[in-house]
């Protein structure tokens, strides 16, 4: 290349800068799309690998119906291939926002589907988090993004994902309240020392940090036993806050697994071997565990019962004591009402007045009595005096009388002795006489006695005289006293009157007092009443609280009982990383991106090369004269060509480099960011993929340099004079259509010109046609996928679909065929019509393979208790004919996708692996199905295949149509949601039902993801096809206009209006567009068929049929693109300067 030629090359680049740039851009677009899309899938895998290995995602997850303890951990750690084992536990609760200012009631938070926000509180070991080495032996570790680690039991960290999805929900230093759903959270976790329990049974957590976690990748977080059954969020709290002695999950790290990237066959193989070991040893370790906890449980239950009884008694007593209180209170209230009324006051007044009157009366009576007493001439003193005198007289008379009696007796005794003459006794007689008579004692002989007798007799007579005197005296005094009689009676009346008046006065004063202080009294009474009322309320609350406590301990007791009951059936659920929400889907997404990355960029490449080809050809054509001149000047064909090759190579390389840079830098990140809506993978490492870059550069060079070579070689070989002469304009030619005069003669000139033009520029027409076709086909694919994603759920779940049942209930213990005891929980609801029908079934995740198939595919086995009426719950249709299928006893029905993956057909045999059991089953029919793989088997065939009777672990439920949510908006759902939740709760509160899952929950959560995916797909496809249509149509139209500028100017001079001139160009476009759209619609069908199969993740079959709206939309959107280009061209055509265009000649 001479210096002059080099200069010319550079200058021609500068002069045709816009053309150069347009080639660069087109190439960059093609290469960018290619390399970028190719880099997405490996980039996503690398991102996942980074996260999983840095945060030690567990390889195997074990869950047990009886929990784990440290013994289990050590037992599993001893198994071969196990590197480390971490115990983990959680509790699910309902999220509340702490009460707002001025309120005591916390506000229940709602999840995205409107159900209660179910929050998983996960115990995490934060010890040693500052030391990397110490963390290495733990699994599922966290990475702090913001804030700090929790330090005590009431601090928590929240996922960065939750924080991003709902920034208003969680923020640093925010306080949230988690309450147990029908259980006390404090039964499981404790508050930090010094933190008081508030909001009965809830725990308040302060968010102190934001973390990344490897275990929740997707927005869909899985199932929960609490709330609406769907987990909405999760927080991590310090492990030591949990005070129950068991763990819920056992995380296992497989030795050497970190050497392999996730989602690879090597990794899967390694983990699967260890998992098999774990499964083999499960029963042994479980037996040890059940042996350990059995007695403990029994003890716990016994204690619990005792406690419960005691508590019940207490509450009963309280209840009894309280029983009459309300009635009493009511009585008092009525009284109070009466007592404090005006009426009552009036009554008080009346009472007072009556008392006053009584008092007056008493006073009158008293006055009368008093006057009467006063009227007597003597006083009470006189009466007492007379009484005394009479008493004295009486006593005197009695004394005298007694002396006489005694004296007589002594005389008689002495006379007797004397008469007897007994000398010995004379002394006695003297003694007696001398005692009773005051005389000198005589001699102790008869004489002496006789004398003394004589003397005594005299004395006696005297004494009798004295007695008589006393008697008279007495009678006198008695008569005197008797005169006091009337006086005493009056006195008595007076005394009574006095008493009466005193009493009346007291009463009157009392009444007066009441009357005077009525207001104060009333107030006091009111207060007393209120006090009583309050006391009652407190007592009632106490009672209520006691009842709650009882309910709580009853539940705990029932849980323990259930656990004990199921202990013999204890089992482990072993999962690999599929267990972690989003793990599998992320891998499948990466896979489907891989498929897109093949189909999609090739299309773009093709278009880029077509466009650069036409542009380069045009350039060479324009330079014909110069080429001729150079050739005439003696330059060789090669050195002339070098200019164009250099030009093309420069454009191609520049475009390729630009495209590679943009492709690797932006496209994976852009798509990754879009996917971050669905998956929480924090960052995607930048990836450079040399092979892809090389392919891109090579393809870019082929399409530019190749195009140049093709047209240069053709031209440069010619003789200089030929080159220097302008290429004769292509002659008009007759087209086939002209042979059909009927049509031809009815065509306008534009029509004729158009028809001939189409034939004349076959290449360009073909390219336009191809571009439009590709655009339409892309749109068919894009809308088709969109429709597929959008309608898949509706075809799988709900009425008129496959899975027609509304909910499924897990039984605590599998049910024997015909054993209706466990179904009693549903009876009541069947009676009320909330549940319309039930069907026990055995649904089990298992693995399927077949002869000559190198791996096992996870699938679900479904065995209904009876095949009759099964179609009310699951409606099976033949994959090909669409006819309804009956479940028979001569084989299994499997879904189409499963049959497709394994390459089996009707009559073939597949093997089911259920734990250690295996069964060969014959494929009887193949059914439609979209989500998961299913193997349907009748119970009889199950027995035949597995050699054991089928126990049913599920009950499928059909709900009353009033309880269905489909088609309702969030507002309308509210009440129904509550009813459903209540139904689920009532069922799970029975001993038989473990959990209830509603299909609508799946539809809502999966539906949300699917709609995000659908929107992403649609936007990508519409944008891509739009770019395609624009690039192709714009370039070709520009060339078309450029080539026909004289024609256009001429017809404008002839008086064609703008519209007519436009039509001169448009007609061609329109025809090509219509043809291209038609072809694209047709072409879209097989492409869609291919891509939809490639894009499918293994566990799903997308809807593979296209519906009319897809075609209509694809056609219309393409038409809109074409019209858009035509609008741009309109201005281009309008700006043609007739004078300029007609001046030159070619």
């Amino acid at each position: 290349m001479t210096r002059a030629l080099f200069c010319d090359t550079l200058r021609s680049m500068r002069r045709t800068l816009s053309r150069f740039i347009s080639i660069v851009i087109i190439v960059a677009l093609g290469v960018g799309f290619f390399t970028g899309l190719r880099a997405v899938s490996p980039g996503m895998r690398a991102a996942a690998y980074d996260l999983f290995s840095q945060l030690h995602l567990a390889d195997i997850v074990i869950q047990s119906t009886v929990g784990f303890d440290e013994h289990d951990r050590l037992a599993v750690l001893e198994l071969s291939g196990v590197e480390n084992v971490t115990l983990s536990r959680f509790v699910d609760g309902i999220l509340f926002d702490p009460p707002p200012e001025g309120s005591d009631d916390p506000v229940m938070a709602q999840g995205m589907t409107g159900a209660p926000y179910v929050m998983r509180v996960i115990g995490h070991d934060f010890e040693g988090y500052d030391d990397y080495n110490q963390r290495d032996d733990r699994l599922n570790t966290l990475r702090l993004v913001e804030g700090r680690w929790p330090q005590h039991e009431n601090e928590a960290v929240v996922s960065a994902y939750a924080n991003r999805m709902e920034p208003q929900r969680f923020s640093l230093n925010q306080r949230i309240l988690v309450r147990g759903d029908h259980e006390n959270l404090l039964d499981t976790v404790r508050n930090a020392p010094g933190v008081e329990e508030r909001f009965d049974g809830g725990v308040v957590y302060t968010i102190v940090g934001v973390v990344h976690t490897p275990e929740f990748l997707a927005m869909e977080l899985g199932a929960s036993q609490a709330g609406g059954g769907e987990l909405s969020g999760y927080i991590y709290i310090p492990n030591r806050a949990f005070h129950r002695p068991y763990y819920t999950t056992l995380l296992v790290g497989v030795a050497g697994s970190r050497a392999f990237a996730p989602y690879t066959a090597e990794y899967d193989y390694l983990v699967r071997r260890v998992r098999e070991t774990v499964e083999e040893e499960a029963q042994r370790i479980l037996t040890q565990r059940t042996a350990r906890i059995g007695p403990q449980l029994q003890e716990e239950i016994d204690n619990g019962r005792a406690e419960l009884e005691a508590a019940q008694e207490e509450v009963d007593a309280l209840t009894q004591a309280l029983a009459d209180r309300p009635a009493e209170l009511e009585e008092r209230r009525q009284e109070l009402l009466a007592e404090t009324s005006q009426e009552r006051y009036d009554r008080l007044m009346a009472e007072f007045e009556q008392n006053l009157a009584e008092f007056e009366e008493a006073r009158e009576r008293y006055m009368v009595a008093h006057a009467r007493v006063q009227a007597f001439p003597y006083t009470r003193e006189d009466y007492r005096h007379a009484q005394n005198r009479m008493t004295v007289a009486q006593e005197s008379w009695e004394m005298a009388d007694m002396g006489i009696q005694v004296g007589r007796a002594a005389i008689e005794t002495a006379e007797a002795i004397l008469e007897s003459g007994d000398a010995a006794r004379m002394g006695n007689a003297i003694g007696i006489l001398s005692i009773y008579f005051p005389m000198n004692p005589g001699d102790a002989n008869v004489a002496g006695v006789t004398r003394m007798l004589e003397e005594a007799r005299v004395d006696m007579a005297f004494q009798e005289e004295m007695l008589e005197e006393a008697r008279l005296d007495l009678e006198r005094e008695r008569a005197h006293l008797a005169r006091f009689g009337p006086y005493l009676r009056e006195l008595d009346a007076y005394e009574r009157a006095r008493r009466d008046i005193l009493e009346a006065e007291t009463q009157m004063l009392d009444a007066q007092h009441w009357l005077n202080n009525a207001d104060i009294m009333f107030a006091i009474m009111q207060h007393e009443f209120e006090e009583a009322e309050r006391n009652l309320q407190i007592a009632l609350q106490e009672q209520n609280f006691g009842l709650q406590r009882i309910a709580n301990s009853e539940r705990l007791l029932r849980q323990a009982e259930n656990l004990l009951y199921t202990l013999p059936y204890a089992q482990w659920m072993t999962n690999n990383r599929d267990h972690f929400p989003g793990y599998t889907n992320f891998g499948d997404t990466a896979d489907s991106m891989q498929q897109f990355a093949i189909a999609f960029p090739i299309l773009f490449f093709l278009v880029a090369s077509l466009v650069s080809f036409s542009t380069m050809t045009r350039m060479v054509k324009d330079d014909r004269k110069q080429m001729g001149m150079l050739k005439a000047a003696g330059y060789s064909a090669a050195s002339i060509s070098i200019k164009y090759i250099f030009y093309a190579a420069a454009a191609g390389l520049l475009g390729a480099l630009l495209g590679t840079a943009i492709g690797f830098l932006f496209i994976p990140q852009a798509i990754f960011i879009a996917y971050q809506i669905l998956y929480l993978i924090p960052t995607m490492p930048f990836g450079f993929f040399p092979a892809e870059a090389l392919v891109g550069v090579a393809a870019a060079l082929i399409s530019t340099v190749g195009a140049v070579l093709a047209s240069v070689v053709v031209n440069v070989r010619n003789h200089p004079s030929v080159l220097m002469r302008p290429k004769a304009p292509r002659a008009g030619k007759r087209v086939l259509l002209e042979r059909v005069p009927f049509i031809w003669n009815h065509m306008g000139f534009t029509g004729k010109v158009t028809t001939r033009n189409l034939m004349r520029n076959k290449m360009r027409a073909l390219m336009t046609f191809t571009g439009i076709m590709a655009c339409t086909a892309l749109l068919v694919v894009g809308f088709g996928i969109g429709d597929s994603l959008g309608t898949m759920l509706g075809r799988q779940f709900g009425p008129e679909s496959i899975m027609r049942f509304d909910a499924q209930a897990n039984l605590q213990v599998p049910m024997r065929a015909g054993d209706t005891a466990q179904l009693e929980a549903f009876e009541a609801h069947l009676q009320t019509g909330e549940i319309t029908s039930i069907l026990p079934a055995f649904i089990q995740q298992l693995y399927v393979d077949t002869q000559g198939f190198d791996r096992q595919v996870p699938a679900r086995l479904s065995v209904p208790e009876t095949t009759e009426g099964f179609d009310d719950f699951v409606y099976l249709r033949d994959n090909n004919t669409g006819e309804q299928l009956e479940l028979t006893d001569d084989g299994a029905i499997i879904n189409g996708k499963l049959a497709e993956i394994m390459g089996v057909g009707v009559g073939d045999t597949i093997t089911l692996h259920w734990g250690l059991r295996q069964a060969e089953v014959r494929v009887a029919s193949i059914t439609y199905n979209y989500i998961y793989h299913w193997v349907y088997v009748s119970p009889a065939y199950f027995e035949q295949a597995f050699g054991m009777a089928c126990d049913f672990n599920m009950v499928l439920l059909n709900l009353n149509p009033n309880l269905r949510l489909a088609g309702l908006n969030r507002g309308e759902r509210g009440a129904i949601m509550e009813e459903r939740t209540a139904l689920a709760r009532e069922l799970t509160d029975t001993v038989h039902v473990m959990a209830v899952a509603f299909n609508q929950t799946i539809i809502d959560s999966v539906g949300e993801q699917l709609s995000v995916m659908r929107n992403v797909v649609m936007v990508v496809f519409v944008a891509a096809s739009g770019a395609l249509a624009f690039v192709v149509l714009y370039n070709l139209n520009i060339i078309n206009i450029y080539e026909r500028i004289r024609e256009l100017a001429t017809i404008k001079v002839l008086g064609f209006s703008d519209k007519q001139t436009d039509m001169f160009i448009y007609r061609e476009n329109i025809i090509l567009s219509v043809l291209g759209i038609a072809a694209g619609l047709a072409l879209g069908i097989p492409i869609f068929g291919y891509i939809i199969r490639q894009a499918e993740i293994e566990s799903m079959m997308f809807v593979r049929t296209l519906v009319p709206w897809v075609f209509i939309a694809a056609g219309l959107v393409t038409l809109v693109f074409a019209i858009g280009i035509n609008v741009v061209m309109h201005f281009r055509i309008k700006s043609i300067n007739m004078v300029e265009a007609l001046k030159s000649v070619e």
Partner: protein, 300 residues
């Protein structure tokens, strides 16, 4: 690259100066093939043997005739601004043409005659002055009215024919009649120009003269009141050129169409009813020829 005549900047490889219309003759300038094949160097000016009209002293600005003429060019200016340079393609040019006349506009390259024709044809605008055709001021028509004017009033004949390559001769005529309000029958017009046998040929299959005849037929078929011809013989040999001129003169005579022909060839002057001579955008002379010569008698 700059124009040798007016000095205006020109595009690389351009064959004509945008400003003055000068055709580049430089050594390295690309030579249009057509030109090489068909261009006959203009004959040396011949002294008129028969003085059919008295030489009129040159007038730079002829005064307007009284009473409205069919075409009135009134102080028309057309100024291009190229960077800092202003170029006057038309500089206060004024002339009239009566209805039914065959008018010849004569001038060397860059004299402004093509610009004048373009303005007359409604495909170029002016920067000053007025042009009236049949009482209508076409310089102030809207775009839409201009299209209508071009469609119904004017027939254009180009130096390089500008036929639509994809249409046959007949169709090329029909494309015009399709637009016009009262067109002539295309076959009839082609008959008129003597192409009855080549009606179904594509332009590429026709000779230059035949193509120009199709072009004239296309212009005539619209039954225009005004036929504008831009160097209609420029790309043709002598005989063919003469035939074309004859055709134009006959058309003028037989149909009463006003015909305006642009030429740099002063030998054509005798055949015209009216001759407008231009130089540097100005009309410096206007001659009315009361008894024009028949083309058949013209020799050059």
């Amino acid at each position: 690259m700059f124009c040798e005549v007016c000095g205006a900047r020109m595009e690389e490889n351009a064959m004509f100066c945008d400003t003055c219309g000068h055709r580049v003759m430089g050594e390295d300038a690309p030579q249009p093939v057509v030109q090489q094949q068909t261009y006959a160097p203009p004959p040396p000016p011949v002294a008129p043997q028969q003085q059919q009209f008295a030489p009129v002293p040159p007038v730079t600005r002829p005064t307007r005739k009284t009473g409205p003429a069919f075409i009135e060019f009134n102080e028309v200016s057309k100024q291009y601004i190229m960077g800092e340079v202003k170029i006057d393609a038309l500089d206060h040019a004024s002339f009239d043409i009566e209805e039914g006349e065959l008018c010849l506009i004569i001038g060397s390259s860059g004299a402004g005659k093509t610009t004048a024709l373009n303005v007359l044809g409604g495909i170029d605008s002016v920067t000053g002055g007025q042009v009236q055709v049949d009482g209508r001021t076409i310089t102030s028509l809207s775009n839409k009215q201009l299209i209508d004017y071009r469609r119904n009033q004017v027939g254009f004949v180009f130096q390089f024919y500008n036929l639509i390559p994809n249409l046959t001769a007949l169709e090329n005529v029909e494309i015009a009649t399709q637009l016009s309000k009262n067109p002539l029958k295309p076959e009839q017009v082609l008959n008129m120009v003597g192409l009855q046998d080549r009606m179904d040929s594509f332009p590429a299959q026709l000779s230059g003269g035949e193509q120009q005849r199709v072009s004239i037929a296309r212009a005539l078929a619209k039954n225009p009141r005004l036929l504008l011809c831009d160097e209609p013989t420029g790309a043709l040999d002598y005989e063919t050129g003469k035939q074309i001129l004859q055709l134009l003169q006959d058309t003028c005579r037989q149909t009463g169409t006003t015909v305006v022909i642009i030429s740099h060839n002063m030998a054509f002057e005798p055949i015209a009813d009216r001759v407008v001579r231009m130089r540097s955008g100005q009309v410096y002379d206007l001659t009315v020829n009361p008894s024009p010569m028949n083309v058949a008698d013209l020799e050059w």
